[in-house]
Amino acid sequence: MLTPITIVYLVILACVLALVVWNLFTEKKFTNQITAAMVTIPLILRLLLIK
């Protein structure tokens, strides 16, 4: 069962992930988009409680 503090951190993580994805779609330079994409992967896997 998730503890309250874990839920708080998952919410923070979801917000950061959303902001990174927002940047992925507004960023004009492809290599910077790759950087954003790299950051999303662990955030997604943690948000889904996979890793």
Binding site: I5, W22, N32, I34, T35, A36, M38, V39, I41, K51
Partner: protein, 424 residues
């Protein structure tokens, strides 16, 4: 030539080619270097390892993102301008004391959270305008903030690299307060005076008074400072009150940032948060790349090659290896350096005073936060003072870094007599 050395050279070569020839971001270059290392090592493209390596920094990403959001809120609400004008108005007559005070404030969040990033992005960003207004060049201000952040990270009570080394050798993190204080505070005072005193020695207050935003203080009164005071209060409570819930640094930053929405100038919250993340994305990307890089180094044996080469040095060369290898490995991660090199070096020096050796090794590991490509303290300090080239801050910090390394080595070499003298 061993296969590990070949892989290492391929990884470094790919990284260099990516960064300098192809002008790719550091993050992407590290990703490519990791893939190249894995390919040469006969592992194909090990997606699992590449992904797994990044997880070491997931908490760091949250700290960095929330710290940056806090910093933006403090800036946009006007709290930053208000505090700068207040402090300069009150302390301009005693500039050296002002500098030392500023340095201690910069160190404070690092002392509490154990993170140089937290120091640089919170107190560092709050103190930067003051130092700039006093007439200190922005490269020097960046260097002061970066070194302050690093020393804050190492200063007591919370020193994560020392804790990591202690964990690796089953030694309790006890008795570190005095050695860590002796290792950090004299350096902090020395560095801030070295980098800033000559600019503030003959301070002409009438020249800078005009640049101070006193209006905002009149408009909003004391409440303008509330986000900063909230953060300081939360960090102090977290540190001093055992019953205070341990919610972690990101939550503290967000609470303080939330307070800042109601205490000063209004601004667009979502856009500000997006900008904050945009500013730190390159660093987050570097951390991802570094995570992959270390995982592939470990997978292929390159990490073992580096550790062995470093700790196999005979006699006095061992000290030289410590002074160079630990900060250099910190280029990848200061905490990683403490674990990967700090532990075997401590074991190699087992006859000395262990508390002093671990404390001093943590000071060496801290230097890693100035070494590119990660250079968390340096890169964020450059961002705080709006200096596009981080390397200029690194160059300005060379003397403090050298002093820090030599100071740490002195404690390591003479750990036994110093320990006796201090009664530890």
């Amino acid at each position: 030539m061993s296969i590990e050395l070949i892989i290492f050279l391929v990884m470094v070569g790919t990284f260099m080619a990516g960064c300098f020839a192809a002008k790719l971001p550091v993050s992407v270059s590290m990703l490519l270097a990791s893939v190249a290392g894995a390919l040469v090592g006969g592992h194909g493209i090990p997606v699992r390892h590449l992904v797994e390596g990044t997880f070491a920094y997931i908490d760091t990403i949250l700290t960095i993102a929330t710290a940056m959001v806090f910093m933006k809120v403090v800036e946009k609400s006007g709290a930053l301008d208000a505090l700068s004008s207040l402090i300069i108005e009150k302390f301009h007559k005693v500039p050296s004391l002002l500098l030392i005070l500023v340095m201690l404030v910069i160190m404070f969040p690092g002392m509490i959270t154990g993170s140089s990033t937290a120091s640089v992005l919170s107190a560092g960003s709050i103190m930067a305008p003051i130092l700039l207004l006093l007439g200190i060049p922005k490269v020097n201000v960046g260097a002061i903030i970066a070194m302050g952040g690093i020393l804050g990270m190492i200063a007591p009570p919370t020193n994560v690299p020392a804790m990591i080394i202690c964990g690796g050798i089953d030694m309790p993190y006890v008795g570190f307060t005095l050695p860590l204080a002796l290792l950090t505070f004299p350096l902090a005072i020395l560095f801030v005076l070295l980098l800033g005193y000559k600019y503030v020695r003959k301070l002409d207050y009438s020249l800078i008074e005009g640049q101070l935003d006193k209006e905002i203080r009149k408009t909003y009164g004391v409440k303008i400072y509330l986000p900063i005071l909230t953060l300081a209060a939360l960090m102090l409570a977290d540190s001093l009150i055992p019953a205070f819930p341990d919610v972690g640094t990101p939550v503290l930053f967000l609470i303080a940032a939330f307070v800042g929405l109601f205490t000063g100038k209004k601004f667009k919250v979502l856009e500000t948060a997006k900008d904050a993340v945009q500013d730190v994305l390159p660093v987050m990307g570097i951390l991802m790349g570094v995570g992959m890089f270390i995982q592939i180094m470990t997978l292929t044996g390159v990490r073992g090659l580096i550790v062995n080469a470093s700790i196999s040095m005979p006699g006095p060369l061992l000290y030289a290896a410590m002074g160079l290898a630990i900060p250099a490995f910190g280029a990848i991660s200061a905490f990683g350096s403490a674990s990967v090199l700090g532990v075997p070096f401590t074991l190699a020096m087992i006859s000395g005073n262990q508390v002093l050796i671990v404390a001093a090794l943590s000071l060496l590991a801290g230097v890693g936060d100035m070494v590119p490509p990660t250079a968390l303290a340096g890169i964020f300090a450059a961002q705080v003072v709006d200096e596009p080239k981080y390397t200029r801050i690194l160059k300005r910090s060379i003397i403090p870094i050298a002093v820090q390394i030599l100071y740490a080595l002195t404690f390591i070499i003479f750990s036994t007599p110093i320990g006796k003298f201090l009664g530890i």
